[in-house]
């Protein structure tokens, strides 16, 4: 117990962001409801939740665009609840929507953003040039931002958020709504920034993205943080479990319940009429399973082992069905 407390004190010491009981209401809507979490120095921290969960509202409060109704925020040891300006020089913010100046060129936009953080002219121009090159926007450097495509706009918005090399970077759904190639490029960039020591606070509703990139994750649902832990710890309970999907045709509708009666140590779930999901904390032996299904008059067309991932953990913890998140994903256009 004492060890635990010592550990949490040590953690607190290297916590760059400490959020305590933060609440924000918009009239009748409680957007953020008493959330608490910490982000450590150099960490890539994921904030994972469905639409309307309160992710953007949380970022806005941490960065000074929204005023909390109650709770406390400390960033780098500074009290920021009432005085959000205190830590703003340490922050970089990449908003969910591009909000650069349409009438300025890409290059001028970057230089202007750098000047807001007090960077000298020579340095600004050099960094802007480098970033435009890194993001493959060299050719468009002197075109107006208004004439950029959606993906180009997103890239320039990211460049604008990191031009002053912030110690803490907030990214609000950086890969939503852009094509697969650009999204991959952005994920690589996030990983690079992380390696270079930037503390990153990333919101997303792509579970795979969070699993692949982040070290620790908070699940946020309807304004509440329902769990915060490292990816390893979150995955731990499912690590020993096995899962497979069996595709069948001509199956009776009660096949699942018959399977459950026959194999009590396995869990069955009908994903659809043709697909049955099997999960177990013990080894799943395929042959008896297939024999039983065929004896029931159905035909097995495919049986495939699947890896259990953070998705299952998320569903288990939040009770939000994967379908709901998947639908969002399709709407906003492609994950990985």
């Amino acid at each position: 117990m004492d060890d635990d407390r010592a550990l949490s004190r040590a953690r607190q010491a290297d916590s760059l962001i400490i959020v305590d009981q933060l609440t924000k209401k918009f009239n009748a809507v409680t957007a953020v409801n008493g959330i608490s979490f910490e982000v450590h120095e150099g960490e890539l921290f994921g904030f994972l939740g469905p639409n309307g969960a309160g992710k953007t509202t949380t970022i806005n409060m941490l960065t000074g665009l929204a005023r909390p109704d109650s709770g406390a925020i400390r960033i780098a040891g500074m009290e920021c609840t009432r005085n959000p300006k205190a830590a703003q020089h340490l922050l970089g913010v990449i908003p969910d929507e591009s909000n650069l100046y349409p009438e300025l060129s890409g290059f001028d936009n970057l230089c202007f953003c750098a000047s807001l953080y007090g960077m000298q002219k020579k340095e600004r121009r050099m960094r802007a040039g480098e970033l435009l090159k890194d993001f493959g926007l060299e050719e468009a450097a002197h075109r107006k931002f208004a004439a950029y495509s959606k993906g180009m706009k997103r890239k320039l918005t990211i460049a604008a958020g990191i031009i002053h090399s912030p110690r803490i970077l907030f990214m609000d759904e950086p890969t939503t709504g852009i094509d697969v190639g650009s999204a991959r490029h952005i994920r690589q960039l996030i990983a690079e920034l992380h390696r270079a020591g930037t503390t990153i606070f990333l919101t997303t509703h792509y579970i795979e993205e969070a699993e692949r990139l982040c070290e620790r994750i908070a699940f946020i649902v309807r304004g509440r943080v329902v769990q915060v832990d490292t990816i390893a710890n979150l995955l731990q309970p499912i690590q020993q479990r096995e899962a497979m999907v069996v595709s069948v045709s001509n199956a009776e509708s009660d096949l699942c319940s018959r399977l459950a009666a026959e194999f009590p140590h396995l869990e069955f779930q009908a994903v659809s009429l043709e697909h049955i999901r099997v999960e177990s904390s013990e080894a799943i032996h395929i042959a008896p399973l297939l024999r039983f299904i065929e004896n029931q008059g159905a035909e097995v067309t495919e049986a495939r082992r699947t890896r259990l991932s953070l998705e299952e953990v998320f569903v288990g913890v939040t009770g939000i069905e994967l379908d709901a998140m998947k639908k969002e994903k399709e709407k906003s256009g492609g994950g990985s």
């Binding site: 918009f26 806005n60 960065t63 000074g64 665009l65 929204a66 005023r67 300006k85 703003q88 020089h89 922050l91 913010v93 908003p95 929507e97 909000n99 650069l100 100046y101 349409p102 009438e103 300025l104 001028d108 202007f112 953003c113 000047s115 807001l116 953080y117 007090g118 960077m119 000298q120 604008a160």
Partner: protein, 245 residues
Amino acid sequence: MKRWIAFWNIMLKDMRAYYLKPPNISWGLMFPVAWTGMFFIKSGRGMDSILILLPGVIAISVLFGTTSMLAVTVTFEKKNRSFERLLLAPIPLGLLMLAKTSGAILFGVANAFVPIVLALFLTDLSQIAWITVIPAIVLIAIVSTFLGLFIAVSVSEVFEAQTFSNFFRFPMIFLCGLFFPIESLPALLHPLSYLLPLTYGADILHGAVNGKSSMPLGLDFCVIAGFCVVLFAISLRNIHRKWIV
């Protein structure tokens, strides 16, 4: 130091992006010319009336030049969310808003010189007390810019900003003694006149150009300066309350 780099660049960016654009420059030129021409023809009194009209035309040019700009630099940027960048920057809100308005103030001062240069070609301006006119122009530019700011932070759409500012601007042409003395207005309107900052600016200009001011110049200057402080403070408070939600 870092803050001043930000201040300077915010001002420069607004000038490059908005004020020095051809449509704005031609608007800045056309507007005073049109007003001068209109009043000149209307009064039909020949060249010597120019000095009588000049203070009013200067004040109007500044008022319209500055207030229209704030609808763009503030309301429009709020609408397309680029204003959030400024709110996220490590600059105190007061300094930020000074940077956002200083471009408009300079634009207003420049506008004032259009009718002055025109008049220079048409008549003799040697009787004008420039030492009073210049600071008066600067103060009028500041107070009308802050009036524009006050309007810009009270509305959320660009067109609302235009409508709302016309609601202030057009009555001011008549109520502030720009072209005819306040005394010639119905007595009922007098209190209204004295509630408008431009009344005091116009009074200084009349005094400096024609030697006919109705109040002590010192008082005029103090009242305008007071309006500047109050309008700016209210605007800051509104931004704080309404934009940082």
